[in-house]
Structure formats: structure tokens, C-alpha cells
Symmetry: C2
Subunit: 318 residues, 2 copies
């Protein structure tokens, strides 16, 4: 029995599309910030009577449970039945990166429960195969995920750029809609790859944003980073809007939020938005400005949360 916690991460330079679906190898490199206090806590008991998975007190069944057990098989093909118990302190399946923290924590906990001793890089490669962006949640702070070149994906895993205390920023999450998303990230990615006439343009242009984004992080240049972040999110969503049938995660409040962020900037508050596969909006700002951003969103959002750079995934001692 072992327990691990991991934080979700929000991509600033987005991951959308795969060069290998089975191994979750991305078509573009991406870059993220690991965020606390959101976290997933997962315990794995490796010698159970049968495979069982619990998430926030409810038994997980069907396809979702299958995905967890297959991930355990991946970690140890000769494993015995296992019980997985997982809890999150934030909404799941709403574009808040719950699968990233989930598969990072699962990989770390199960690996320990199975008596394995793996490097963070090895854990990241395995976590990626469970859910792509999970490979970034193995590390804290600012993390890049190069797309890699190799067919086996051994060169495509999270890699730390700067630690969580590098820069006092905040990510304000404006929860605009707690419901589950209409199209899963996986289905959305596949449909974009297969039907969007903008997919090639997405892959080429997004890759060019990685290096400038890294430079902006190292130079602590929020305007440069924020501009790249908004561009990457816009292009990701635009690539989906052009799919057949179109994929639109934006709701009217999402666009309201974009306008609100532009207004904040006009008022001198450095704030930039990003969005993932869901209607919620995340706003990057200096930590000192987080309360002003929250205030701006308090009327519209169902809830707001101030997230701060978080640490790496870690095993909890018994």
C-alpha cells in the first residue's frame, strides 16, 4: 500500500493532438505550470481481492475504470489485483486538469505499491501513457514537455524549467460551469486531427511558441509569456472550431471572461487568460494582483480559486 499526491498543471503552451495515439506522444511540445492547492491524493493497495477503483467516494466503472487498470498493467504486467482510492479537492472532468494530477499520483503510488524504484523521468514517461499531460505533473513549478523524436517516446516526458519558487505568479481559476464537458479531450483531439483543415497550421505554429515562452519564464516577463499563452489557447480552440462537426468549448461567459481580462489590462493589471477543453477560464497574473482579478470575476463565476505554483508529485510516508 502506497499513497501519492500530485497537483494538476495548466498548459501555457498547449498540447492538442498526438503523433502516436497508443503511446500518447504529442504532435507539439507544450509547457505548463504545476498548481497548488488543487491536488489528487491516490492510494494503491497492491494485493487486493479484485481490481477496484474509487474516486471521491464513488466506485468507478466501465471505460474509466478500465483505463486505470490498464495503466496498472502497464506499470507491472504481472501485478496482482489492486484497490485504487483517489480523492480530489477540485471538480473533475471540467477542463481543470484532473486527469493530469490523477495519472501522475496513480503512477507514483502504484509504482511504490508494486515495490518498484523508478526515477522521476521514468515515472513521467509512464504517466504520459496514462494521460498525456500527466507527465508534466510529476514535477513542480514550470515544466516543459518536448514532443520528442523517437518512436518509443523515451525522449517525450516532462522536464523542469524552473522550480515553483522561481516567480511569484498566480493562476486564478474562474469556474464558469461545473458540469462535465460535452466532448472529452481525447475525442476532441482525435476529431481535430482527423477533420480540421487547421490542424497542420496548429502543429507548426504552436511549436514555434515554445522557445519564446521558456525565455519569458526565465526572464520573468509576464507580458511576453501572457501574450504567448493567450495565442496558444486561441489557436488551439480555433483549430477545434474548424473541425467537422465543430467543437466549441466556449460558452458566453468564457467570452465575457476574455473581455474582462482585456479590461483588466487596460486598467493596468497584468492579466492574461487561457482555456482548456472546457468552458472555464484561467487567468495568469502576478501573485500580488490575484485578489484584484478575483474581485473582477466574483460576479460572473460560480467560484473562483487562486492557485499558486505547486511542488512536484510526492509519495507520502505511511
Amino acid at each position: 500500500m502506497a499513497t501519492a499526491i500530485a497537483h494538476p498543471n495548466i498548459a501555457l503552451v498547449k498540447y492538442w493532438g498526438k503523433r502516436d495515439r497508443r503511446l500518447n506522444l504529442p504532435a507539439t511540445s507544450s509547457l505548463s505550470l504545476t498548481l497548488a492547492p488543487y491536488e489528487t491524493r491516490t492510494s494503491v493497495e497492491s494485493d487486493a481481492e479484485k481490481d477496484e477503483c474509487w474516486l471521491n467516494g464513488e466506485l468507478v466503472e466501465g471505460h474509466k475504470a478500465q483505463r486505470v487498470f490498464e495503466h496498472l498493467d502497464r506499470l507491472d504486467p504481472w501485478r496482482k489485483p489492486a484497490t485504487v482510492v483517489s480523492t480530489t479537492n477540485f471538480p473533475i472532468g471540467a477542463g481543470l486538469a484532473s486527469s493530469a494530477s490523477g495519472f501522475a499520483a496513480l503512477t507514483m503510488a502504484a509504482s511504490a505499491a508494486f515495490g518498484q524504484n523508478r526515477t522521476d523521468t521514468a515515472l513521467s514517461i509512464l504517466a504520459r501513457q496514462g494521460s498525456g499531460s500527466a507527465c508534466r505533473s510529476i514535477w513542480g513549478g514550470w515544466v516543459e514537455w518536448p514532443k520528442g523524436q523517437h518512436d518509443d517516446g523515451l525522449d517525450s516526458h516532462g522536464r523542469p524549467i524552473a522550480p515553483q519558487d522561481h516567480w511569484d505568479v498566480a493562476m486564478v481559476v474562474a469556474v464558469l460551469n461545473k458540469g462535465p464537458k460535452a466532448v472529452s479531450s481525447t475525442d476532441g483531439m482525435n476529431r481535430t486531427m482527423e477533420t480540421s483543415p487547421y490542424y497542420d497550421g496548429w502543429v507548426t505554429s504552436n511549436e514555434q511558441d515554445l522557445l519564446p515562452a521558456k525565455k519569458a519564464i526565465l526572464a520573468r516577463d509576464l507580458e511576453a509569456l501572457g501574450t504567448i499563452m493567450e495565442r496558444s489557447a486561441l489557436r488551439m480552440h480555433a483549430s477545434m472550431l474548424a473541425a467537422t462537426p465543430p467543437i466549441r468549448y466556449w460558452k458566453s461567459n468564457s467570452v465575457w471572461a476574455m473581455d474582462a481580462v482585456e479590461n483588466l489590462r487596460r486598467q493596468g493589471i497584468g492579466a492574461w487568460w487561457t482555456m482548456d477543453a472546457g468552458p472555464n477560464v484561467k487567468i495568469l497574473c502576478e501573485a500580488k494582483d490575484a485578489k484584484a482579478v478575483v474581485k473582477r470575476f466574483s460576479n460572473l463565476a460560480e467560484a473562483t480559486e487562486i492557485l499558486l505554483p505547486g511542488g512536484p508529485a510526492q509519495l507520502l510516508e505511511d
Copy 2:
């Protein structure tokens, strides 16, 4: 002195981007519906003391006036000073195609005032040079505008597909914001062409929508036509969202309107939306369903209008 009226047209398969900027030759073919009772009425007096242009009772000056006088020069390089008096019965500069009806009426009225006798095709070619989409407003009903192949643009003009009485449809305009647009169509097109990584994908994919749209019109298949129309609008806007800096004509109520249209369809009312270079939304439906569509939008929109297929531009007798 001569007076002409022309109706605006709304593109179902969109025009966005040029293969020749001076001649307004489009990068893609487009297809539109000419719409009444919106109209522009323009009188040209060809033997005035000096060039003067009035629009809805106000003297037009600067760049906008220059554009009108240069168009008159195009029609007759040896012309005398002219007075242009134009009125519209709908908001201008708000993505409601006022420049289409404006330059169609201007071309027809000035041509007559200058004593010229031109075919509709010749008028369409000239109107196109004033404002691209104006070439479609020379005709009523369903009109295509092939991009053409020739450098001189003589093969790129409006061409009627079906007359106004071919099909009893309506276009409901939901005016969500009467203010002028933040970025003009011309500037928006140029920025998209120059900076959007999705521009090539836009040009290629939109062209493929023309033939199926024509077939849907001739077969009076509203679902097929509506699906193509939404796709073309989404892809046009997505190509702009990906530009640098991004161009976003969508406001929160634009997205609300998209959701509302999807809800109408779920309720069994065949309705599809399109949007141009402005936040307003236009909804295509069977004429018999127009009132139900208006009702759905009455709470949100500042104003709604039911437009019906309109006739060709025409010269008014004295």
C-alpha cells in the same frame, strides 16, 4: 442625376481574404443571399460644383469619402465633380453588409448619372472593385461569386444561382451591438492573410464548400445548407482568432446566440447561424419559422429583424 437602390447580402459561404488587393479579387469563391427590406438608396448628381458625399444626412469626410470619389473615378476617369447622397434603413458598419449594398447602389446610380449603359455583369465587376461583396448585391436572391482565375478579374463577379422567389426562407438578424466594429473588414482580412497560420487551410477548405452549398440551395435542403453555412462562418472566425494580434468579433452574446440556435434545433426548429465582421448574428430558417426564432432572441438582442430574399439592385425612374 440618377438614383438606385440595392439590398445588402449575407454570405453563406464566406469571403475572407484576397488574391489581389487592388482589384478586390477574392482568395475563395463565396455564395450569398440578397436580403430585403434592408436597402441603401443612393443618388448621384454628376455635374456638381465639387465632390461631396452625404450618408444618412451627414457629410462623409476623409478616407471614407476618398473611397467613394475614387470609385467614381473608376467608373469615369473624365468625370466632373459629383454629389452623392446615400441613405440606409439599417445600421452601418456593424457587420450588416452596408458596404455591399452601398457600393452596389453607388455603382448603378453613378453609371447612369454618367450616361453609361452597362450590363449587370459589368456593374458587378466595377462594384467589386469598390467593395468586394458589393458585386453580389447587383443580383437578387441566391448569388455566387467565383474567385475567378484571370489577373484582370473579369471572371470574378456576382452570378445568380436562383431568384428571390426560389425558396421561402428568412434570415433573422439579431442585433447584439449597434456600435461600430473594432477592426474593419479590410484590416481584418489583411491581418489574417499576413499573420494567421490557418489562412492557407481556410482558403482550401472554404472553396470546397461552394459546390455542396449550391446543390443544397437548388434542392432546397435547409439542413445541408445550414450546416455548410455554420461551418464556413466558424472557419472564417477561427482563421482570425489565430492571427497576431488575434481578431475576435465574437462577444459573449454572440456565443449565447450560437447556443440558442442549437437549442432551437433540438426543439425541432430548423435554424442555423452565421456571423460576419461584427458581433451580430444572423439566423437562417424557413420563413414560417422566423417568428419563433425572433421570439427566442427577443430577450437578448437589442433588436431583431426578419429579412427575406430581396431583388436585384435597380435604377429608380425619376
